[in-house]
Symmetry: C2
Subunit: 147 residues, 2 copies
Amino acid sequence: MTDATSARLADAFMHVAKRLRGRWMHQLAPLGLTPGQGRALGVIARAGDGIRMADLAGRLDIVPRSATSVVDGLEDQGLVLRRPDPGDRRSMLVTLTEAGRLLVSRIEQAQRGAAEEMFGTLEPAERDQLLAVLLRLNACGKHPGSI
Amino acid sequence: MTDATSARLADAFMHVAKRLRGRWMHQLAPLGLTPGQGRALGVIARAGDGIRMADLAGRLDIVPRSATSVVDGLEDQGLVLRRPDPGDRRSMLVTLTEAGRLLVSRIEQAQRGAAEEMFGTLEPAERDQLLAVLLRLNACGKHPGSI
DNA sequence: TATTGTTATACTCTATAACTATA
DNA sequence: TATAGTTATAGAGTATAACAATA
């Protein structure tokens, strides 16, 4: 009984996620960015004075190799730049360029637009409730491989 | 204010979706299936006497081309078979083989397992509430491209 | 002409393994 | 030896366009 509800939950959940991702893609496409790049640019912007690749990967919950691809794409468009960490020359610090800084607000606007398209029909109380549940789900059990 | 909540909602939502997908992949991997294949096998099983490629794609909310890849994978493993629709020779009817039938219950068990790992910590009332909200979100605004 | 499914192609995201350069 | 980031490679998912067979 409970199992069936969980399965239906998972199905409905992934369906919403798919649509949310699609809307986000369409919002970001005019800016020439993929969802992953948009997300990364936000993290880099919030980091302020430069963020190391490993830390960026951690914040985005992706493996370091994926962070390389994302930053490559942003760098190709002149939105970020890499410079060696003065304190540890193995590390790279990623910072926004002026062009990147100018784009951040438009990206956040696109993200909000996609989110509003998806969740705009919910009552404010429902959103708060949903957010609380999601944060709790994210808070516990961070190990996808193990139980 | 509301915008900020929606953006945080979207972020938390996609994070849960990512982890749910990861757990699902790990549950299905021992069966040699990808999440898309597992989902498709369930739809084909519920269709009973054969489902057309276009209908399968519609149920999975993917483009017909993607359905071809999914069914290819299942057919390679001998879990489904294609036969021409007697009523319209342009169409293909996809049905389960005996091997596919035997696997369905294990797949559903894996899906429930992943869902339980993710949503098991929620109270029953919370699950019902969450499910209701998700179904409502999926019910309205089915057009990702347009507004 | 329109529809069904396919081949061909491409891009995003993800992941593992091996390599380079530092530490 | 250990770590940071990269190159190399691979597979899943998605999408569009062009094509063949059929309606």
